[in-house]
């Protein structure tokens, strides 16, 4: 698109913005219209595309930048079919590190326990609900054990795919995070769930 062309600002219909300046404007307008900002969703393919929640699904189906993710699905098929699963080369192992910065971070943190279900309120994002919400019964357990249960449950089979939405992933330095969708099941179809 011609960078000089004008488009309408999603936060204020009266604003006509040059395409090339839109990101700058969106930042400003988002701050000036917190109420509108709460009701708008950001397209997963292109951060310029902002629309009311109700229109998001329809937009995702026809977003011109969608190919970004379709390609990646192709990729997963290709690599899977040809059994070209990359292998981390094992011929060389790095010698053990002489320092451990993780340990020093932990010192700083006064050994705060790792907590699941961390709220996102500490993130500087407003009105974003693209994160998936787990069904309430899954929120009872807190801690790595609960996560392990959830992943086990999810790995049962493709019929549970719908529940794959609430993948429990633990990000703790000592135990690698495990994702449900590795269990060999095909990826869940809704595009916004992709990873």
């Amino acid at each position: 698109m011609d960078p000089e062309a004008l488009v309408q600002c999603p936060y204020d219909k009266a604003h006509q913005i040059r395409v090339s300046r839109l990101p700058y404007h969106l930042v400003k307008c988002q701050r000036n219209n917190p109420q509108v900002a709460r009701s708008l969703e950001v397209c997963p393919f292109n951060a310029r595309h902002r629309m009311p929640r109700s229109e998001l699904q329809r937009h995702i189906a026809c977003c011109p930048d969608q190919r970004l993710l379709f390609n990646s699905q192709e990729l997963s098929l290709c690599t899977g079919d040809q059994a070209k699963q990359p292998k981390v080369p094992v011929a060389w192992q790095a010698p053990p590190c002489q320092e451990d910065w993780e340990a020093e971070v932990d010192e700083l943190e006064e050994a705060a326990p790792f907590i699941l279900n961390t709220t996102v309120s500490d993130l500087p994002l407003e009105g974003d609900s693209s994160a998936l919400v787990a069904p309430p019964n899954w929120r009872q357990g807190v801690g790595p054990a609960a996560a392990a249960v959830t992943t086990g449950h999810l790995a049962k089979g493709p019929d549970k795919q719908e529940q794959n939405r609430s993948r429990k992933v633990v990000a703790q330095p000592s135990s690698p995070a495990v994702c449900a969708w590795v269990a060999g099941a095909p990826l869940p179809p809704p595009a916004h769930l992709l990873i």
Binding site: M1, A47, E74, V88, P89, L125
Partner: protein
């Protein structure tokens, strides 16, 4: 809303307003008594917030329209700069003031300094600004009754009272700055216009600014620019040059204007002037001369196209007014004898205009004219294009051809590439000049300001050199040179990819070069651990189609890599090969220009480098350094723009795939022309995380993003537009996946320079020098690293600004990790200026932007095919 504000909102040009003075004047009168300075705030809602993206046009043109705006300005100090910025430039927040990212990062609020390394005495190109104790700047608002429109008139009327306000002042039409406090808070004076009209001028004190207030900083910069103008420096772009002291390089028809880039900002401890030497390169060749010489080179029917290709987009300087313009078009139908309508309605030809206005003679009456569009509108008035005469326009800058001319660049470097001592001397000259100039001294004295006469000195740290790890070996390198090509020459690589089945394509003329390459590869690969079979050698005609046909016919699914020997640096052939092999048929490829293989004495060294590069492209790994963090993913982002030829911009995205940072995943986003801010980061990070998972069977618990390619004044948008994309993406992975994210903005083009004190003289600081005090900004979590070594000239430090950080990593570790990553760029066995992921992203974006123009095939995405 005052009448003027309403007029502005409706978009009426200021000229029409004069026809209906009673409305504006009356309403102005009404509002005047109602705002003694205390109640001023209550007036604010009258003024709608500016709807434009960049409030404010050019001060000079806007003139009287300042007044309503000024009222709106008094709420926030930030807005005041807008009306006082110096004239003539695009008004942007080049220094990213007001982006206070540090306060949101809890663990560095107290201290952001590192600790490791050896101390080193450094000098930087900064001068402290000193002012008297209890210094303050007084800001006044000036009102006229009846309203006066013309800014010049407003100044004239005000300065009839010089005995009251003094000789020292800064006035933009409505805001007045004085170094002293007037006796009364509100002062009313009366002036007479030339027509004998009495005007009441109300001068109201609105603010008493401490030396560190943002408005004051803006004010210092304006005063400093005023000083430079007093010393007859000429503003070109953002910098100031001295046209009286040019260096001429006659054998290349070049002229160098020495000059300075300067800015006054609040740094860590104090307000300082940062001054660096800058050079403007002018060609003693006009556009007309250039057209003549081009005419002799190309056929007549291609002449116009050739002109357009060579000239559109270049910056020209017109010496009659020392202004620069960008050539946007060439009007072949016009010539200097054409006429145009002046503002007063009279018709005049270009010849007469230039003769009368600038006393310039035009000799070639049949030359076409150049068109330069103003890049933006001024308020609501669209300014027409500027017509320039080729004969009067001098070319500036260097063309690609000139850059490739080794001798020219060498002769130029004598003048532009200054050693640390020369550079310090040149910067010192600026201060000397200021000291000697009596007018400058007086102006500074009147404002109560002065600059330190010596450069800022402080101590930095040189962090420890890294150990280079290769298979079974650990190497140290000489930290002075920051290069380990000699040390690692014969060591086996971490991961060598075999050359079992590969193609070597050459033209008949280059058969010898191809053979030489093959023989030397057989010599160098065994010690690296690369297993190699003889290549399938294919001879082709030297035509693009011939190369492509061979590729289509000969590539099999087992082909490891394709090596093409090219006979010239012609871009079209290279582009075609790369495009085919990166999109339709995803196979790594290596192009070699035959000439680089022609010198027998250097052949072995060059072939070694080619072998390493080919290995990387096939997915091999060369070396590593210790990374004392687990489950860490590093991301690098850079953008490529080709605004001149109007191609689309490309954002390159690179993410590490393993903990040792030896394998990288890559994607790129094709964006509209000139776009620096990236829209599609969410999808990029998602695929990168998925790829990481495939490799490691878990997700990273830390993600560190190095973002390069951010221009001045874009920091705010970056923080509020790109960082949320990352956070968004991480949230969609899973509710409980909450890795620690760090976003670091990398900036190569900074005017900060460091000199190391060594004995009596100055040297470049050694690689690994880290500076996180004095010259950093208090509102940021930022630091400088000098990671590379340079042979001649001054080393340029790289600026790192951590804009988002939940990692809780110590500043020392972030600095050292950054330095470690500068060791990991596989196309250079040494330390580079930026972390390797940034350089990889740059390389990727460059290849795609120059040759491929669309996203390459993702089957290549886990290899460094773009090296």
């Amino acid at each position: 809303m005052t009448g003027r504000a309403r007029a502005r909102a409706r978009g009426r040009p200021p000229g029409q307003e004069a026809a209906i003075p009673p409305v504006g004047a009356a309403s102005a009168q009404k509002t005047l008594p109602s705002h003694p300075s205390e109640q001023r705030q209550s007036l604010q809602p009258c003024h709608p917030p500016p709807l434009t993206e960049e409030p404010g046009g050019r001060g000079r043109q806007r003139g009287p329209q300042d007044a309503p705006k000024t009222l709106g300005l008094q709420i926030s100090a930030g807005f005041q700069e807008l009306s006082l910025a110096d004239r003539g430039g695009r008004r942007r927040d080049f220094h990213d003031l007001g982006v206070n990212t540090r306060q949101a990062i809890e663990h560095v609020r107290e201290s952001k300094t590192g600790s490791s390394g050896a101390m080193i005495k450094l000098i930087a190109n900064f001068f402290r600004l000193t002012s008297r104790p209890q210094w303050a700047l007084y800001q006044y608002h000036v009102d006229y009754n009846p309203e006066m429109e013309a800014r010049r008139l407003r100044s004239g009327l005000l300065f009839q009272h010089e005995d009251l306000i003094g000789k020292t002042h800064a006035f933009d039409g409505s805001i007045l700055f004085l170094p002293k406090r007037l006796p009364n808070k509100v002062t009313e004076v009366y002036s007479k216009t030339r027509n004998g009209e009495d005007v009441r001028i109300t001068i109201t004190l609105t603010n008493e600014l401490p030396p560190t207030s943002p408005t004051c900083l803006q004010f210092y910069n304006i005063i400093f620019r005023r000083l430079l103008k007093m010393m007859n420096f000429q503003q070109i772009g953002r910098n100031y040059y001295n046209p009286k002291d040019p260096v001429s390089i006659p054998n290349h028809r070049l002229m160098v204007w020495p000059g300075f880039t300067s800015s006054i900002l609040q740094y860590e401890e104090s307000i300082m002037l940062c001054a660096d030497v800058s050079h403007k390169i002018l060609r003693s060749e006009t556009v007309l001369d250039f057209m003549y010489s081009l005419y002799e080179q190309v056929e007549e029917r291609r002449f116009r196209d050739a002109c357009a290709k060579e000239l559109i987009g270049v910056i020209v300087l017109t010496k009659y007014n020392n202004r620069t313009y960008r050539v946007d078009d060439i009007d072949w139908d016009a010539n200097p004898q054409c006429t145009f309508r002046r503002a007063d309605g009279s018709e005049i030809s270009y010849i007469d205009y230039y003769k009368r206005q600038y006393n310039q003679d035009i000799s070639d009456l049949n030359q076409p004219v150049l068109i330069s569009q103003y890049r933006r509108k001024r308020g609501n008035v669209t300014v027409g294009p500027v017509v320039l005469i080729p004969e009067l326009c001098y070319l500036t800058g260097l063309t690609e051809k000139m850059r490739n001319d080794f001798n020219m660049m060498k002769d130029l470097a004598v003048h532009t590439r200054l050693s640390p001592e020369q550079r310090q001397r040149e910067i010192g000259k600026l201060v000397d000049c200021m000291k000697k100039d009596e007018c400058v001294q007086k102006e500074l004295r009147d404002w109560g300001l002065s600059f330190d006469s010596s450069l800022l000195s402080f101590t930095g740290r040189v962090v420890q050199a890294e150990k280079i790890l290769q298979a079974g070996n650990v190497f140290d390198y000489n930290p002075q040179f920051a290069d380990w090509s000699r040390e690692t020459r014969v060591a086996p690589l971490i991961h060598a990819k075999p050359l079992d089945n590969w193609l070597l394509i050459y033209t008949r003329r280059n058969y010898d070069a191809a053979n030489m390459l093959l023989q030397n590869l057989f010599k160098v690969t065994p010690s690296m651990g690369i297993r190699m079979n003889k290549a399938t050698m294919i001879e082709v005609d030297d035509r693009t189609e011939a190369y492509l046909r061979v590729l289509q016919q000969s590539i099999t699914p087992d082909t490891n890599i394709v090596v093409c020997i090219l006979s010239s640096t012609r871009k079209d052939k290279y582009d075609a090969i790369k495009k085919y092999l990166c999109t339709d048929c995803p196979i790594p490829s290596q192009c070699v220009v035959a000439r680089t293989l022609s010198k027998p004495q250097t052949a072995l060294a060059i072939v070694t480098k080619i072998a390493l590069q080919m290995n990387c492209k096939m997915g091999g790994e060369l070396w590593s350094v210790e990374i004392p963090l687990k489950q860490l993913m590093i991301v690098g982002i850079d953008c490529y723009h080709d605004t001149l030829s109007g191609k689309q911009s490309i954002a390159g995205f690179v993410a590490s795939l393993n903990e040792k940072m030896t394998r990288w995943f890559s994607r790129c986003v094709v964006q509209s022309r000139g776009q620096e801010i990236v829209d599609g980061l969410k999808a990029c990070l998602q695929t990168a995380l998925r790829e990481w998972f495939k490799w490691n069977k878990y997700l990273p618990s830390r993600i560190i993003v190095y973002r390069d390619g951010v221009g001045d004044g874009q920091l705010n948008t970056l923080v509020n537009y790109e960082v949320p994309q990352f956070l968004d993406c991480l949230k969609t992975v899973g509710k409980d996946y909450n890795p620690r994210l760090t976003v670091i903005v990398v900036k190569k083009r900074v005017s900060t320079r460091f000199f190391a004190q060594a004995g009596g003289g100055l040297k470049n600081p050694p690689p690994g020098t880290v500076v996180d005090i004095e010259v950093t900004r208090p509102e940021w979590y930022d630091f400088f690293i000098v990671s590379q070594a340079v042979r001649n000239g001054c080393v340029a430090p790289t600026h790192y600004n951590v804009v988002y950080d939940t990692s809780k990593l110590k500043p020392d570790h972030v600095q050292r990790l950054t330095y470690k990553l500068c060791h990991m760029y596989y196309n250079w066995s040494g330390v580079i200026r930026v972390p390797a992921p940034c350089q990889y992203a740059h390389k990727l974006a460059f290849l795609v932007g120059q040759s491929i123009h669309r996203e390459p095939n993702l089957l290549l995405s886990d290899r460094l095919y773009y090296l």
